[in-house]
């Protein structure tokens, strides 16, 4: 699919944190949200999203809970913990710094 980009390793976690900062969501929901927000630029690979979610759960950035969906299904909802929120703040700052630097380098040419 032209115009779509594979996510850089590590970035996926940052994006998931961002999505969950708005409201808790289940796996499918996170996928949808990422698609929408990035306007289809990122191809979210569900095969690596679940391992990422579980890794973040182990690290304590997100917490999973089972509850009902609007369609009356039981699904595992992930929400951001306080630790995850702090993480999001620092990661966002770092990202901004790095992308600014890269932009500078590219424009300097």
């Amino acid at each position: 699919m032209p115009g779509r980009t594979e996510l850089v390793q590590g970035t996926l976690e940052l994006l998931i944190l961002k999505v969950l900062a708005l409201e808790p969501a289940h796996g499918y929901g996170i996928c949808q949200r990422l698609d929408q927000i990035s306007r289809g630029v990122f191809q979210v690979n569900a095969g690596s999203m679940f391992p990422a979610l579980h890794r973040m759960e182990t690290k304590g950035w997100v917490a999973g809970e089972w509850s009902q969906t609007e369609n009356n299904r039981r699904a595992k909802y992930y929400r951001l913990t306080r630790k995850g929120r702090r993480r999001l703040t620092t990661e966002t700052k770092q990202w901004a710094r790095a992308s600014l630097a890269i932009t500078h380098v590219l424009e300097a040419g």
Binding site: G27, A46, G47, F50, P51, H54, W66, K76
Partner: protein, 872 residues
């Protein structure tokens, strides 16, 4: 969360995802089936996705490993024969390996328990290369005071002493030390105290000793009151200052020291304090601790410079020579240099054996993995990852290897007594523990783990190759040639390595046999040897002369003794060297000065050891101190000095004295089994008491079949003086066995390893041919049905089966030709390219390969065509 819940949740989570995704797609117009498939694809496989998620669960890897272990153990138990053959062959290899590691560790490496940071300790001596010369006390003291690379330095000198009252004498190995020795090693006393670092030569401790925990327990019943008590040392009372920690018997691993007199102590058998003051007397050595950060090279450079400056300042006669700084190990640097070669050969032999066993097992694992190919392919098709299955197969190989290593360690533990019995009675007390210890245990298990992975990897990768369709169909026809190619290569490799090992062991067995039957120039059989050291009992030359005179007479009265005599060393052992040799008629300075080795012997010695006198006579009762100096010389010296003329009656100068030749003895082996024959002079004890009177070897020739016992000889000695101990007593072969030991040990270990290798070879070849026949049963059945005579089938199978072993043997011979010269120096009396050994090994292996092929081939020829065809 417990594991099943976690699994259950993961299952639900992914299922919900797939359903939601599929619903969305159905609404976009896809059929339900297609929607579900696309959703699963988005996860890149549901099972694979689960695997990836599990991989990030904490502790999951361990759980999975344990589960794989359980599966592996269950699988292996279901195939008892397969498992038993692998574990048994590997256990033999691991057992031999662990035994040799223990031997090397005990003799060469393991430093006694309790020494703090032994890796920073060094041994000091003079010399370089293969030369190790003692140093003098003043120069070492100077080094200790001025060196910036040494944190501390303790002067040491080993010896022997007699302790106790006359009725309970005990000979112990001693290590005389400066007061800082124990502090330097970092030891804490078990009782009493150690001398303070600067107490050497101090009057208060000058007559004090430290005893070992062993001596404390065995002789004094671990009585705490012994501290401060008096102990007779060679008849001189000394004070017991303290007791070493348990297990410590000096820093030298092999020699069990029991008594540590402080340097400066004056007692029979110990170095005299006056001699220590003399910077020209090189009779001590040292152990030192490097300053943190200082290297051995830096210490060597600094100490060599210090020693040179010291020698010049003092105007000493000794030529300056480099100081050597050797790493401290259980075996002192001097003997270590000689021992490393034989030990290296032993280690190479057993590692090679282990490698051969691994190749053999790799082949069996390959056969097993390919039998399970259908099962494996099915699991791959159901979505199991290849890595997952490889891990599982490797776990199985790990279980096999660890089980075998444990069994091998048990074998090594049980057989350590056997190994000890291979070692002869040696002229020094040994503190040898050959059972594997914790270090050997860990090393063996680590090697097993690495070997398990290396061995299991090829079969595991081979069995999990993704040609699913073929495998599920069970289409073995397409795969078997490649399987058998890999299997055959492994057999060839195994044969090649076996040739190298067998040729190497064969050469050592031949060399050992040659040396045991070697003509030494004398006959050790029937001679009994006792070692005496009169200095330990406080003798001087005059008393010694009386003692030996008495002993010579009384020992002859012992029943069954035909001859008795003394010499100051044993032939074949070491001899002493004198320089300044020339024939009397050759004016001094005309020819370059020669040296000669000499041995001081009592009259009757040549008869006692049956060393033939070619011309002239033996020493007699008239060759005494006041009579003209006489000597017996060897053939080589007679030839070199008087070029074939009659030597008897001629005179020569040696070490400043003039001697008349009264006899010429046949050449013999004087030091070791190899090397050129030196000029050799025998001097009569009766004329040499002033030079050599303290240490003598009593030699008795017994009538055939008689074995004069230690107690008999001891009672004769004690009837003259009960304070004189009989230090070592053995038949002469045993007394000389040190010289045969390296070859004997290598040939024994090599022989056992060789046998195991042959068995492995049979198992390997048999296995491959057996499987080849099994897989071709259908084809062979057809051939038989079409009228092929069974004999032809038999030759066909054998011929096919022989190709890999033959190529392997040829390769092995080439390899062996290339490598045997590395051990040439250790082989006595046998060429490294000995055609008999090479020929014997090749013939043996070809025969073994034929037999191992013939049995399965027979089975092939007996295939019943109807039953095989029906089976398909």
């Amino acid at each position: 969360m417990r594991r099943p819940d976690r699994e259950h949740d993961l299952d639900d989570e992914l299922r919900v995802f797939v359903e939601m995704e599929a619903e969305a797609r159905q609404q976009a117009g896809m059929s339900r089936e297609e929607a579900l498939r696309t959703a699963a694809l988005k996860l890149r496989g549901i099972e694979q996705s689960k695997e990836r998620v599990r991989a990030v669960w904490p502790g999951y890897a361990l759980l999975e490993f344990l589960r794989d272990m359980r599966i592996a153990v269950r699988g292996l138990i279901r195939r008892p024969l397969f498992t038993a053959v692998i574990v048994f062959t590997l256990a033999l290899a691991f057992g031999i390996n662990a035994s040799i590691y223990s031997l090397v560790d005990a003799i060469l490496l393991r430093s006694p328990a309790g020494i703090r940071n032994p890796s920073r300790l060094v041994e000091l001596a003079r010399g370089s290369g293969a030369s190790f010369v003692d140093l003098s006390y003043p120069i070492l003291d100077h080094m200790r005071n001025t060196s910036t690379t040494l944190a501390d330095l303790a002067v040491i000198r080993s010896g022997e002493a007699v302790i106790g009252e006359p009725d309970e004498l005990e000979v112990v190995a001693t290590l005389q030390v400066t007061g800082n020795y124990f502090d330097l090693l970092g030891l804490t006393p078990a009782a009493g105290r150690f001398p303070f670092p600067d107490e050497s030569f101090h009057p208060e401790v000058a007559q004090a000793v430290v005893i070992t925990h062993r001596l404390w327990e065995d002789r004094f019943g671990a009585d705490p009151a012994i501290v401060g008590a008096s102990l007779p040392l060679g008849g001189v009372p000394v004070t017991i200052l303290g007791v070493t920690p348990p297990g410590f018997r000096g820093h030298v691993g092999l020699l069990g020291m029991d008594l540590f007199p402080v340097l400066g102590l004056r007692a029979p058998g110990l170095v005299e304090p006056e001699s220590l003051d003399n910077a020209d007397d090189n009779d001590v050595s040292a152990i030192a601790r490097l300053v943190d950060g200082a290297s051995r090279d830096a210490a060597r450079d600094e100490l060599t410079a210090l020693a040179a400056a010291f020698t010049e300042d003092r105007g000493l006669t000794a030529r300056p020579s480099p100081i050597r700084v050797d790493r401290y190990m259980a075996m002192p640097a001097g003997p270590r240099a000689d021992a490393i070669g034989p030990f290296a050969v032993l280690v190479v032999v057993v590692v090679l054996l282990l490698a051969i066993a691994c190749v053999n097992v790799a082949n069996m694992l390959l056969a097993r993995a390919l039998e399970r190919r259908r099962e494996i392919a099915t699991r791959l098709a159901l979505g199991a990852g290849r890595g997952r299955i490889v891990r599982q197969l490797l776990t199985e190989s790990l279980v096999l290897f660890i089980a075998a290593a444990l069994a091998g360690l048990l074998i090594a533990y049980w057989s350590s007594g056997l190994l000890t019995s291979l070692l002869p009675a040696l002229p020094v007390p040994l503190a040898l523990r050959l059972a594997p210890d914790m270090r050997v245990f860990m090393l063996t298990l680590s090697i097993a783990a690495v070997a398990a992975i290396l061995t299991g990897l090829v079969p595991a990768l081979r069995a999990t190759r993704r040609n699913l369709i073929d495998s599920i169909r069970g289409d073995s026809g397409g795969l078997s040639p490649r399987r058998s190619l890999l299997g055959r290569s492994l057999v060839g490799l195994q044969m090649a390595a076996t040739v190298v090992l067998l040729v190497g062991s064969g050469l050592f067995v031949r060399a050992a046999m040659t040396t045991e039957n070697m003509d030494l120039g004398f006959e050790p059989e029937g001679v009994w040897v006792g070692r005496l050291d009169l200095r330990l009992s406080g003798y001087d030359a005059e008393r010694a002369e009386r003692f030996f005179g008495n002993l010579r007479e009384r020992v002859a009265d012992l029943g069954g003794i035909t001859q008795a005599s003394f010499s100051h060393k044993l032939p074949l052992g070491s001899s002493s060297t004198l320089s300044g040799l020339r024939a009397e008629e050759t004016p001094e300075g005309q020819a370059p000065p020669l040296g000669a080795d000499f041995l001081v012997v009592d009259r009757g010695w040549f008869d006692t050891v049956r060393m033939p006198l070619l011309t002239g006579r033996d020493f007699g009762a008239d060759d005494v101190e006041d009579a003209p100096r006489v000597a017996v010389i060897n053939e080589t010296m007679a030839r070199q000095l008087w070029s074939g003329d009659e030597a008897v009656g001629r005179r020569f100068v040696l070490g400043g004295a003039v001697f008349e030749v009264i006899g010429v003895a046949a050449d013999a082996r004087y030091h070791g089994l190899e090397g050129e024959t030196p000029r050799f002079v025998y001097l009569p004890l009766a004329q040499q008491y002033r030079m050599r009177w303290d240490r003598m070897f009593l030699q008795l020739r017994a009538e055939s079949g008689m074995r004069p016992s230690r107690a008999q000889v001891e009672s004769v000695i004690h009837s003259i003086d009960e304070t004189v101990p009989l230090l070592d007593y053995a038949d002469m072969r045993t007394a000389l066995s040190m010289f045969f030991l390296p070859l004997r040990l290598i040939s024994w270990v090599g022989g056992v390893a060789g046998l195991v290798c042959l068995i492995l070879g049979i198992v390997g070849i048999y296995g491959v041919t057996f499987h080849a026949v099994n897989q071709r049963r259908y084809e062979l059945g057809v051939r038989l049905a079409l009228g092929s005579p069974p004999r032809r089938i038999w030759t066909h199978v054998v011929r096919r089966g022989m190709s890999a072993p033959l190529i392997g043997v040829a390769l092995g011979v080439a390899l062996a030709l290339a490598v045997t010269h590395f051990v040439g120096a250790l082989l006595v009396g046998v060429s490294a390219l000995d055609p008999w050994t090479f020929g014997g090994v090749v013939v043996t292996l070809i025969l073994v390969a034929l037999v191992a092929n013939a049995l399965p081939a027979l089975r092939a020829a007996r295939v019943d065509p109807m039953s095989t065809l029906r089976a398909e």
